[in-house]
């Protein structure tokens, strides 16, 4: 495995048992994601994009094959080890933002830091930095109900980066936003990738969104059918 590879999937299979039926989504998926890459995953609905992202993020496990992350094989980790691994390595961004409604922006961003050993002061500093990066320093005390969708997604981005993870996973991060706001969010992801060296994997339906990525993978019927590299 090359030094530059962050993720390596070897012969990954995933199937569900529904009643007596076995639904196979992937049976032999192979891919690698390089450090510092910005990958968009596209494909028709039901092609397994979310399932793949869940496996990359360690919230779901393959039924066969291996997933290697930065030299660690994560598909065989126990649930609690995987939980710790997620806290240390992955930032998540969801389609519906998924902020805690009873916490203000600042505290939502602080949430992942409860899983670290950082001091109070250090935590406050990290939160401020993350909020500043997404341009929401002035909204620190706002509740999610007081913010637009775009603003909420920016808080979610701040939450995803506050503990400085290597990888950011986004499932349809702009699926619920209008074009202009979506572009803002995508520019922000691009900036995180380009200027802060974050590796990003983003699932999207939207070809315009995929253009922000360096690499687009097309998934269909459990296989990658096409690979586009944006100059």
């Amino acid at each position: 495995m090359s030094e530059d590879v962050l993720f390596q999937l070897n012969g990954v299979g995933k199937s569900f048992v529904k009643g007596k039926e076995k639904i196979s989504i992937f049976d032999d998926l192979n891919m690698s994601i390089e450090r510092g890459d910005f990958v968009a995953i596209m494909g028709p609905s039901g092609s397994g994009k979310t399932t793949l992202l869940n496996m990359l993020g360690g919230v779901d496990q393959p039924t066969s094959g291996e997933i290697w992350f930065d030299g660690t094989r994560i598909d065989s980790l126990s649930e609690s080890a995987l939980t710790r691994w997620r806290a240390q390595n992955i930032g998540f961004i969801f389609q519906f933002y998924n902020l805690m409604p009873m916490l203000n922006a600042q505290r939502n961003v602080e949430l992942p830091l409860l899983l670290t050993k950082l001091s109070k002061a250090q935590r406050r500093k990290n939160v401020e930095t993350a909020l500043a990066l997404v341009g929401l320093s002035d909204r620190a005390k706002h509740m999610s109900s007081e913010m637009s969708g775009g603003q909420q997604q920016r808080v979610a981005i701040a939450r995803a980066i506050v503990s400085d993870p290597k990888l950011i996973l986004c499932d349809e991060p702009t699926g619920d936003l209008d074009r202009a706001t979506a572009d803002e969010i995508l520019e922000m992801l691009q900036l995180l990738n380009r200027d802060h060296g974050k590796t990003i994997v983003m699932v999207t339906h939207d070809p315009a969104a995929a253009k922000y990525a360096k690499l687009t993978l097309h998934l269909d019927k459990g296989k990658f059918v096409q690979r586009e590299i944006v100059a």
């Binding site: 779901d60 710790r84 997620r86 240390q88 998540f92 998924n98 949430l111």
Partner: protein, 386 residues
């Protein structure tokens, strides 16, 4: 921010629901505290009452008086060893709320009949020789910081002093103990003669009598002789052992007590179900959020603890305030009920029992939701999202 803050924020996100839940628990523990105190007091007053002492009350009820002439007649009944008479004074110290069990008695015969009273000989003599003297129980003296020689003004909520007003002045002649720890010394005794001369209610009556017999086997016969001798008179009597008198009195309340008790426990059970259901609902509403927390890296154990802490917190907020209210209630009424229930108190045992119930309530109502949260699968939780 820490987990406690998250728990607090989760708990208070629906203030009305939180309030109603806590209120239900509050009521449950208010009733629990009050009823358990009452029950304990009822039981202890039966246990503490003597079996070898007879009490003679007016047949109509125990608040009606008897003529003083009965005292000599009873003393002459065969088998009676010692007899004494008592008047309920309805005293309080300075404020109506500081009720004191205070009795006007015939000192010498009283101490013969109530042998459990322990007092130094010189204080006893001092009391006998001082018309205005009073014997004060050790606990009562402690409460108000009274010492031998102190002059204490005690007011009555029943009688009027012939000089006007409701207040009598007494001198503390002695401080008595009981011969056992259980004997309730929150009471005071003073001279019947002094009381009679200074009150405005006529002077030939007594409240009730207490007597000992030569042998317990004579009790029944003596009681019958006394009641028979006053049959068809103006004031008929009812003589029974102190214990059976208390028991009869308590059984009247006791039946009500049983009803209250079943109501309380039905209420308790209902509240348990309601709170449990509310808790389960509250956690189910947060399925998505719990999935997010897990995704971010919060461990299942930590989420389990947070949910369980929340239900424990609610149980203790409602429960402790209910227990506090019960304590206030008991403290408020205990002086008024002192005559019937001298041991009415919400003590450490009851509080401990209540705390245990709060703990149980919190655990039972939180366990299932916490367990569901623990087991929550992130992927299926997100699949359920809009």
């Amino acid at each position: 921010m820490n987990d406690l803050y998250l728990i607090y924020k989760n708990m208070t996100r629906k203030p009305l629901r939180l309030f109603l839940t806590c209120f239900a628990i509050f009521i449950a523990f208010l009733i629990f505290g009050a009823v358990t105190s009452l029950k304990t007091a009822l039981n202890s007053s039966v246990e503490l009452s003597a079996d070898n002492r007879l009490v003679v009350f007016n047949r109509i009820n125990f608040t009606q008086s008897l003529p003083i002439s009965y005292f000599q007649k009873v003393a002459a009944v065969e088998g009676v060893k010692d007899v004494t008479h008592l008047n309920w004074f309805g005293g309080y110290y300075q404020e109506q709320s500081r009720q004191i069990v205070s009795l006007a008695v015939d000192p010498e015969s009283y101490l013969r009949v109530y042998e459990e009273i322990v007092i130094p000989e010189e204080q006893k003599q001092a009391w006998f020789n001082n018309r205005q003297g009073a014997l004060v129980g050790e606990k009562l003296a402690q409460i108000y910081g009274w010492k031998v020689g102190d002059r204490i003004p005690i007011s009555s909520n029943i009688f009027t002093h012939k000089d006007g007003g409701y207040t009598w002045e007494f001198v503390v002649s002695g401080i008595f103990k009981g011969d056992s720890e259980q004997y309730d010394t929150r009471q005071m005794l003073f001279h019947y003669k002094y009381f009679m001369e200074t009150q405005t209610f006529g002077n030939d009556w007594i409240g009730w009598m207490a007597l000992t017999t030569d042998d317990p086997s004579l009790n029944e016969k003596v009681a019958k002789t006394i009641d028979d001798s006053f049959a068809n008179s103006q004031s008929e009597t009812d003589t029974s052992t102190e214990k059976s008198f208390n028991k009869a009195f308590i059984e009247q309340i006791g039946n009500i007590g049983l009803i209250i008790f079943s109501v309380v426990f039905t209420a308790f059970f209902t509240i348990l179900i309601v709170v449990g259901n509310t808790m389960a609902l509250a956690i189910r509403e947060r399925t998505g959020e719990i999935a997010v927390l897990k995704t971010l890296g919060f461990s299942s154990a930590r989420i389990f603890r947070m949910v369980l802490s929340e239900s424990l917190l609610i149980a203790f907020i409602g429960g402790l305030s209910g227990l506090a209210a019960a304590w206030l209630l008991v403290e408020g009424v205990k002086t008024f009920l002192a005559r019937f229930l001298p041991n009415l108190i919400l003590d450490g045992d009851i509080a401990l029992q209540a705390l245990l119930f709060m703990l149980l309530l919190g655990i039972i109502t939180g366990l299932l939701p916490a367990f569901n949260a623990l087991r929550l699968n992130i992927v299926s939780a997100f699949n359920r999202q809009p």
